[in-house]
Symmetry: C2
């Protein structure tokens, strides 16, 4: 399982405030807490209405975080300038979050991704908007894989995000996402699958319960990458438990070693 810590994202008010105030301490603590909780990558999103500001934010975040934690980064922006600034600075192979099938995004992102050694999240979003149902997600995943292998990415450098939509607004989407994951996993056994599953609980109370239920279900269908808040109580233990149940952790070796290391709390 690849766990990407989602917390350093400017859509969260305390993070936006910390970026704006250049509050290094707050960002470093947020990064370190996530690594301690089990994050394999730290997502960095310095989103700002002004593209130049966002690119400068990314530069500041990349330098700050990679100087203070030992895990690689996930550069999170729809703005290719911000991504490029991040790619120029990273010390370890990063994840780019994310390319989509939108024409403009493809055109701006593909040449940059082709030039840099990186993994990339392919989100099943196109000029037609968000996907609906299972087959639509699968078809978009196949097109993303085609585009990305076309510029030389290896299949295991690609992470397909099937688009986790809020179940409060799209009641069928929870089941559809699970079935789409299973279908993508079956046809592309080596691709990574996962994404920002906390979207599922958007608009609902006590979002952590929805996120915890979703992560188990998605793993049981073949998800192997999760953009989550690893500091949420029970999140990392339940991810490890789900892998143990589904045979992704043979003989529960990883679960038991996490217990011995005190990582199950």
């Amino acid at each position: 399982m690849i766990i990407i810590g989602e917390k350093i994202n400017a859509t969260r008010k305390p993070i936006a405030a910390a970026i704006s105030a250049k509050d290094e301490e707050h960002i470093i603590t947020t990064a370190k807490d996530q690594v301690a909780a089990g994050a394999d990558y730290i997502d960095l999103n310095g989103g700002d209405p002004n593209p130049e500001t966002e690119a400068a934010n990314m530069e500041w975040l990349v330098k700050l975080v990679q100087d203070n934690v030992d895990v690689p980064l996930c550069l999170d922006s729809s703005n290719i300038k911000a991504i490029e600034r991040g790619l120029a600075l990273v010390k370890s192979k990063p994840i780019v979050n994310s390319i989509t099938l939108e024409s403009e995004r493809l055109e701006s992102f593909l040449p940059v991704l082709a030039e840099h050694e990186c993994m990339v999240i392919g989100l099943c979003l196109s000029d037609d908007g968000m996907p609906r149902g299972v087959d639509d997600r699968f078809d978009r995943a196949a097109r993303l894989i085609d585009q990305l292998t076309g510029i030389g990415k290896k299949i295991d450098e690609i992470i397909i995000d099937p688009a986790f939509l809020p179940v409060s607004a799209e009641p069928e989407s929870g089941k559809a996402v699970c079935q789409a994951i299973a279908k993508i996993r079956e046809k592309f056994p080596e691709v990574h699958i996962g994404g920002g599953l906390s979207n599922v609980s958007f608009g609902l109370p006590k979002r952590k319960f929805i996120n915890l239920a979703m992560v188990s279900m998605a793993i049981s269908n073949g998800m192997d990458t999760a953009i989550v808040d690893p500091c949420t109580p029970y999140m990392v233990p339940i991810i490890l438990a789900a892998e143990a149940i589904c045979g992704a952790d043979q003989w529960c070796a990883n679960y038991i070693s996490a217990y011995r290391d005190g990582r199950l709390g």
Copy 2:
């Protein structure tokens, strides 16, 4: 979702001690705590090597618990004498836990079940032992349904337990159980499916995480009945969350109302 509170079971040492000492207070508190946490039924198991003692234990437990909580009971024994004593006393339609395909159990249980109004759990265990894989579970489920409808049980009075085996000993069983649930649900849309899923975590540390991951996965495949400890932190909220994600709780109405009632903690 039918939630059956599993705690009053003589395989748990404090319960065995309470039964032996006729400690009414301990049993009543254990029943009330489970109802408060969301149990729809209270499981009663007074297991004892001596069949007469077990039957007497069941009688004591049934009287005590139904005088103190308002939910119906789940009479849990492989000893038909204990089941009969319970059936003679219950004030509300109970669940009998459980019949199996073992010849001796079928022979002793079927005539009794035919005579009493009750729901019944059919566990996929036969003279050949525990089931292996998906098709074996499905075939046994079909045979159990055939036996039970044959004595006049309606399809929605039957709860198929696909046999949740310890993943520490049977690494493939977690996935097989989920797939078997999906297959049974597809072919028998009106049957109830579920059982004692805490068995999955037997032999592993921090069992609650395994149980919480398992319950989400099983619900996403069509489980609608769970024998669990509803007092486990996060258990009932995650059950409700899993139903909201999977469309078993349209527009998340039940999840939101549980939140408003303070049932999500």
